[in-house]
Amino acid sequence: MAVTVTIEQLKPGMVLAEPIFNRFNQVLLNKGVAITDRHLNVLSTWGIPRVIIEGGEREETPLELDNELKERGLTRLKKRLLWTPKSLLEEEIIHLAFVQACQHTGK
């Protein structure tokens, strides 16, 4: 199922569910393309605000986190995190932990 994400939420490795057009209706990136860092640069150069990606099976509106929730999530996360990330994948794990921590504290 496809989901719409903003350019800020778009991460390398995500796969496009629809082609991306520039303002002259030329295809910048075709559907099925896995996003790389270089693509992110191209998209921000063209000022593309949001794109449609393959998003697993469930349709989700990205969680909007208010600042207070983020603050509490961060406190919860920091207690359990005693190392600093050395790679993109480790950063990804920490980000996922952060989102989950915000949801836990929000309950």
Binding site: G13, L81, I93, L96
Partner: protein
């Protein structure tokens, strides 16, 4: 092999006692002592050994095997529910054990029987401090699911053993929990006090850890070697032999599930995955983010079936 195992532990697990104070051989002896002191040693139900015999016999048919499994109605119904869940990707299509065998193969079906049987074997329900069996299994099931998703992301043709190795990876902790509860209570307290993983506390209190103990138990139960090795090396993420991708996947699955706070493995720390294990997997950034929504959904469904 023992020497190699010790070396890798000392290099990769910084909270372990320094070299000379601990070695793999002693850890195995300590684990052996713990298992020997169990007065009522948990034995696998005969259905698993009859199943193993049937699978080893080249003359046995799908019908023979499915007849053995179907004797255990509780397991049969759980297995059919699991293979029909999105985790295995055949939603609602598999209605009999023999069909399940045809689709998933003997090995994976026998793995699922094993998983269901072992979960029934450890029956203690009350908790020690904040360690509750139901949360322990929640963590374990989530790691099983994560491991299988990582296996899928690796593009392997088959992800046999991935779910089972993940679910059983911490089984050594249950041995401590059920049969050495006083010491395990001290280990839980120690880990909390020092803000260290439960594994470090196990070394402190038992002189061995759940990885050694679980692998030894699995060996005594004559489980497949790939599972034994995954239990033994899931904390270091790499193994001197056997299936490196399986072991690295369990390792990363464990780190991911701890990050997501699914279930409770004895402490609440997020573990840094070992670079050596990540090098084996070579996953593109973004893959875990893609896995997580499905992981959370499968977690709800599979825990409902198994717990």
């Amino acid at each position: 092999m023992e020497k190699q195992a010790t070396d890798s532990l000392n290099i990769l697990t910084p909270w372990l006692p320094s070299e000379g104070q601990v070695n793999g051989y002693q850890a195995v002896i300590k684990a052996e002592l713990i298992l020997e002191n169990i007065s009522e040693f948990p034995t696998l139900p005969t259905i698993y050994s009859s199943l193993a015999d049937a699978l080893a016999d080249p003359c046995s048919t799908t019908r023979d095997v499915s007849r053995i499994i179907s004797c255990d109605q509780a397991s049969t119904s759980k297995i059919l529910k699991i293979v029909n869940s999105p985790l295995y990707g055949y939603p609602g299509q598999i209605d009999t054990v023999s069909r399940a065998i045809v689709v998933l193969g003997y090995n994976e079906i026998s793995n699922l029987v094993l998983t269901s049987q072992i979960m029934d074997l450890f029956s203690k329900r009350e908790s020690l401090l904040d360690f509750r069996p139901v949360d322990f299994w929640g963590h374990s099931i989530a790691v099983g699911i994560a491991t299988r998703h990582i296996g899928k992301a690796l593009g392997l043709a088959k992800q046999d053993n991935f779910f089972t190795a993940g679910v059983l990876h911490d089984i050594g902790k249950l041995v401590f929990f059920e049969f050495a509860s006083d010491q395990f209570t001290r280990a839980l307290e120690w880990a909390k006090k020092h803000r260290l993983p439960i594994q470090a506390a196990e070394w402190e209190i038992f002189g061995t850890d759940h990885a050694y103990t679980g692998a030894l138990l699995a060996e005594k139960w004559l489980l497949p070697q790939s599972i034994v090795q995954a239990l033994r090396f899931h904390e270091t993420g790499i193994a001197p032999e056997t299936d490196p991708k399986l072991i690295a996947s369990v390792h990363l699955g464990n780190a991911l599930v701890r990050a997501l706070e699914l279930g409770y493995p004895g402490d609440d720390l997020i573990l840094q995955p070992k670079q050596e294990a990540l090098d084996i997997l070579k996953l593109e950034p973004g893959i875990l983010t893609q896995i997580v929504p499905n992981l959370l959904k499968d977690y709800e469904e599979i825990t409902r079936i198994l717990l």
